[in-house]
Amino acid sequence: MEHQLNRKKMSSGALITVIVTVILLVAVIVLENTMNANSMLFTVLKKAAVYSLVAVSLNLVNGFTGLFSLGQAGFMLLGAYTYGILTIPAEMRESVYYIYQGSAINFSLQGLFQGLFGTAGVGGAIGLILGVLLAIILAGLVAAGFAYLIGLPVLRLKSDYLAIATLGFAEIIRAVFQWDKLGRVTNGANMLKGFPTFSSFNIKDASGAVAVRLSAFMPLLIAALCIFVIILLINSSYGRAFKAIREDEIAAEAMGINLAKHKQMSFCISSFFSGVAGALFAMFAATVQARSFTSAMTYEILLIVVIGGIGSVSGSVLASFLYIFCSEWWLRFLDSGALPFGNISVPFFRNGFRMVVFSVIIMIIVLFFRRGIMGTNEFSDLINQTRRKAKTKKEAAE
């Protein structure tokens, strides 16, 4: 009875979270079409959406399964390249691959679909959406496939050895993608560009002017859906097995959990979503170049997870938005040498100060607020708690 009651309450908290998310998504569409569309708000929203997905995927493997993986940048790279290579329009390829006199792959997925549905109007839109979706899914699958191969040898390793081995793999992947012998596929050192980005999803009227803007809504929607799938996974029996492995590998094995299988599964699923996030990142940046996927990027994401709370999906999402909003927007004044209010020039404020302040904040969180913003709690838990408290108060009053 008690158990059932808890379950029921759980779902009410979760329901509220879902409703709030949907309201926020709708609000973004409304804002996007009423506010100045070039506002900084939408850029940081897009980037934060991408980062929240990577952060949650990293949290899945680090926070929920207890595998310390630092390969996220590598998986994002795989996803971004897969997406880029498959969706650059055929007519753009000559100019993008100009150093290598054309690409080895001479079609684009949305081009193929548009061949079926026609290029104009609704048919074109369907072709574009199907092509991009397929490319995003393939991006995830390629990353997951590589993760599977990497996972076979390295997942046997213990925590910090695993971390350094995955970090090493990310570096190797980066070197391979920059190798000029593969230039006709990866474009070597040059960047991939010209593929559909978020603003390709704005609905245009006949004259080519934007009728409905969806460019900030799209990444948020995709990220929200992916995170929703991850939450479902975490709350399934697989998720409970992951947590058991995190708490105690040997005990989990004694309970009949197949360690190798579950570790591999968590690692691959996490990489799948990192790959998807890589594709989204490519769409955000409008270009793909291997040199931006460095270990510094992984560290950044890891720190986001730590700020949010290792083992909390809500925490990772919240921290991604806070981190990106602060570092890319709100705290920019730390670099410029002038405070946002008044006209006071502060001597320490010059380029690079923003990052110093940031790293100090991170160290404070790591040392003094080790559980991060959310600890291992989720929004739905907090809602349930407050409801329960309100209920007990009411009962006490009665």
Binding site: V154, I164, I172, S295, L303
Partner: protein, 291 residues
């Protein structure tokens, strides 16, 4: 032939520099089971301090000052960032190490203003010399000699002094040695002090040969030194040194071939192969997990 000799020479010199960093990694790992990600950045900061200090004081003062400040930095990092997390899970400590590394790099970026800085020329060791008809610098020859001297001293310290014995005891069993009355915290501090001292010496030799310091200068040598430490068997000082020399030489040889693109990737591939095939490295002791 001249090319071959020059390759081997620079390989040995690179290896020697990795060795000095690797010792810091291997000692800290041996005792705390922590990959001290910030170690490479301590090395970079030592380089930067030398640049700023040598601008205002003569070398015979600035060199010892740099050594002392680097040791102090290593000591402070341990006290501030690792000691409070002694009972926390290993992942937290490692994240703290990554955080310190991030902090040091960003502070360095802020201080240098993003400009590459040039290391001062140190008399004698930066002078050119000819070996077997191959032109190079004195530092190329001094580095391996220095490494061997320091390693011998360090091994003596560890094997024949009380502090060394305490270090070995702590590395073997943290709690038991605490029960035996060993002051764990001071032993760990000493480990960090030795590691930072060697990193400072390494930075003088390294930046004399490669005289540009940027905030990310420490990251790659740091990672490679760690790989060397793993290769040699983590916790073993001679292992780390031999591992470092092997990696240094291999890396230079690869740079001389058509696969120069993969010189960094090779180091990591080697790491993964070792971790999978022989996780204890060349000289490491097999540790068993107690349930």
């Amino acid at each position: 032939m001249e090319f071959f000799i020059s390759q081997i020479l620079s390989g040995i010199s690179v290896g020697g520099q990795y060795a000095l960093i690797a010792i810091g990694y291997t000692m800290v790992y041996g005792i705390l089971r922590l990959i001290n990600f910030a170690h490479g950045d301590v090395f970079m900061v030592a380089g930067l301090m030398m640049i700023y200090l040598s601008a205002s004081m003569p070398l015979y003062i600035s060199v010892p000052v740099v050594l002392i400040l680097t040791v102090l930095l290593g000591f402070l990092i341990e006290r501030a960032a690792y000691k409070p997390l002694r009972s926390a899970p290993r992942m937290s400590v490692m994240i703290s190490a990554i955080g310190v590394s991030y902090l040091l790099q960003n502070v360095a970026l802020y201080v240098t203003g993003g400009q590459p800085t040039t290391y001062p020329a140190i008399p004698f060791i930066s002078k050119p010399v000819n070996i077997f008809g191959v032109p190079t610098q004195w530092v190329t020859i001094i580095t391996p000699v220095m490494v061997i001297i320091l390693v011998v001293l360090l091994t003596m310290l560890i094997n024949h002094t009380k502090v060394g014995m305490a270090m070995r005891a702590v590395a073997k069993d943290f709690e038991a040695s605490q029960l035996m009355g060993i002051k764990i915290n001071s032993i760990i501090s000493i480990t960090f002090i030795i590691g930072s001292f060697l990193a400072a010496v390494g930075s003088i030799l390294y930046f004399t040969k490669y005289p540009t310091v940027v905030p990310t200068s420490g990251a790659m040598p740091g990672l490679k030194a760690f790989v060397a430490a793993v290769f040699g068997g983590i916790g073993s000082i001679p292992g780390a040194v031999i591992g470092a020399f092997i990696i240094g030489v291999c890396e230079t040889i690869i740079k001389g071939t058509a696969f120069t693109v993969f010189s960094d990737a090779f180091t990591f591939a080697l790491l993964i192969v070792i971790l999978v095939v022989k996780p204890t490295g060349l000289f490491g002791e097999r540790a068993t997990d107690k349930v």
